[in-house]
Symmetry: C3
Amino acid sequence: MIDNAIKRKDLLGMDDLTVDEIEAVLETAEKLKEVSQRDIKKVPTLRGKTIINLFFEPSTRTRTSFELAAKRMSADAINISASASSVVKGETLIDTAMNLEAMNPDAVVIRHPSPGAPHIISRLLKSSVVNAGDGAHEHPTQALLDLMTVKEKKKRLSGLQVVIVGDITHSRVARSNIIGFKKSGAKVRVVGAPTLIPYGIENMGVQVSYDLKESIKDADVIMMLRIQRERQEGALLPSLREYSIRYGLDMEKLEDAPKDVIILHPGPLNRGVEISPEVADSPYSLILNQVSNGLAVRMAIFYHLLGGKE
Amino acid sequence: MIDNAIKRKDLLGMDDLTVDEIEAVLETAEKLKEVSQRDIKKVPTLRGKTIINLFFEPSTRTRTSFELAAKRMSADAINISASASSVVKGETLIDTAMNLEAMNPDAVVIRHPSPGAPHIISRLLKSSVVNAGDGAHEHPTQALLDLMTVKEKKKRLSGLQVVIVGDITHSRVARSNIIGFKKSGAKVRVVGAPTLIPYGIENMGVQVSYDLKESIKDADVIMMLRIQRERQEGALLPSLREYSIRYGLDMEKLEDAPKDVIILHPGPLNRGVEISPEVADSPYSLILNQVSNGLAVRMAIFYHLLGGKE
Amino acid sequence: MIDNAIKRKDLLGMDDLTVDEIEAVLETAEKLKEVSQRDIKKVPTLRGKTIINLFFEPSTRTRTSFELAAKRMSADAINISASASSVVKGETLIDTAMNLEAMNPDAVVIRHPSPGAPHIISRLLKSSVVNAGDGAHEHPTQALLDLMTVKEKKKRLSGLQVVIVGDITHSRVARSNIIGFKKSGAKVRVVGAPTLIPYGIENMGVQVSYDLKESIKDADVIMMLRIQRERQEGALLPSLREYSIRYGLDMEKLEDAPKDVIILHPGPLNRGVEISPEVADSPYSLILNQVSNGLAVRMAIFYHLLGGKE
């Protein structure tokens, strides 16, 4: 069906992917998206393959998306939630991974609070490793689904002005998207309070702004990041209310943006904090398209890593 | 196979169903029950369909029944346990539902502590919504399996005297069963301490009694409700021991009931509280038939909502 | 495919199995192991069968192994985690089991903290019951995978000197392995602190030693048990550090063992406590082979109990 399969064992980060590989994944995802709209939402492509979802952080949404992607490709999916300390019983990440490997899975999807965890296990495992989020480092399938969503609407990525708003420092979503959009030829601007923008980020080739209203005047794409309420304890945020006033996107701030701007959010939404309900539910918002495309992108990743070999 | 498919998207409550629809479901369930007795317990009817079990309250038994029903119809089942606050991360029910919808499921089975939660999401989703219990409101698949169990044994529903015993006020099982049995032509009497019977329940067309022994003299069916131990805190129950003496069903109280009386309980049992072990394990008890029929009823519901369309 | 099927409904313990049955399982496992190395890791043997994993103690590894074994045989697997008290709501083990039985599963795999729990439910259920660990009593699939791993390497079991090291008193792994190796004609020696070796264990036909270094001089197989850190509270262990010095296996203690000794550990490892990282990762260690063989043994058990009937 698809013969431009990417030639790698793992998907660890946007950093590794070439522009051609990114385009190949998006193209496959576009084709596989249609499977989820059929009456029989299933293709036999990965029958007899085993995909393990190994989640060291809870995430119903991402886990569900990967599980459904596996099942719609006819693979067997096994979920392992390793957040409870009793589950791992003090075993090291490496022992856990080697153990799973001994059961001959075809792919291990891993979410872990430590940056680099997927990279460590990828070197030890023959099976494919997919990074589903490692600390504040990368979340490549999120970036791929965002690229897909933008391209679907704008018909191109190159030359677009993308504005990413929120806690840039702690966001793997921001990091993976900056890399992905830059590689695809888009311009990226990050916006947030000075405490939430990492020093030296200009070296990634992005502009920095502290003024949301001003920064979205020329935006083709606005990506609002989720505020992690737990960060507040670290006194990086003054208060949710104050944050919302300065960096929350509402209809009033959106007034000066171009009429064809599109708005993304990785979810789950804090309605009334980083995004107002009116904006989230407006025609500018592609938040639900992101979810649909997330499923398609994950099916495409499994296709390229597991199925494309044959 | 079955051509009297009911014409609705959702199963939200017994309140919505017509008598014809109830009969259609029971008839289908009766036929599908045989699948679970085969050596190969699986029909291909719902291959390629996705069924999501979204449980905001823990319930191993009901979730297992729905999951198995999906799998025996060859559908893909995804379980989401949203009881832990970390899972939903403050997201609203509506956002959660819209998110799932964006992955194109065919049905969302929802259990939620708030009455009306399934109705809210049913209006937003193109996929079918099945109410697996919403607060103290409705639990329609429980009522359908109870109707099926009684009809299997008594060969009819019309004219039967049904006696429902326990905490009527807080019981969605009682509510759905009252509606279901009334629609099917049975007479219903509720029995319990005055604090546990809602004011004005006579308007639902039921008799009220505070005397268990007296009230079962003419019973064809006795349905014992589970006592929720946590209700005790609200001082609605004097003590489990006192409750058991007055409203627990034991062999002594059962003496005056008709010889062909049948006893139901939605489970899980509090043996020695609302039902004595002798009664629970007696030939009068159809508790395990209820479980088998629960699986069949859920297969039938999936058949009618998802499969009967074609 | 295999016609020496064992003739029993359940696998409750090594105590029940005859030597012929043990050999039949190992032979089947050897054949089924190859399935997990195929590109399409799935045989249709148990299509339409339902296998329920009922775990009253958390165990990601064992549950994953049973779940994967079921799926690679094409059975439907249902996971029930009953550790949370809210899940069982005070229901008795027997009611839980009868309830599951009413849904017509083909096998119930049970892990339970009480010795004998699987035996109790096996008498009540028509479906097969597989003991996945019951308190300090038995863990037969662990013993079978250990026997398989040793036989694979040593080409025989009879006459081998097996040394089991650690907390013998509280170990179901030790108990099942002692029975399995003795039945297979091997000699077994147990080694540990006097507080951790049950009085009268010589009656099981094993030697007792308190000196690790001395006891492994003639060992063909050394099986290191996992130290349960929670036992420490009972003051049975002086300290992990002291335990490690006397009964932890490191390269220095291993020096006097035969050059072709093999080392097993049921996992998960406490690296640096009962086994040093150097030993765990040495060529003597067959720890990952045990995991692979565990999957094959569980597929074989399902084959014999469910598939071999036809």
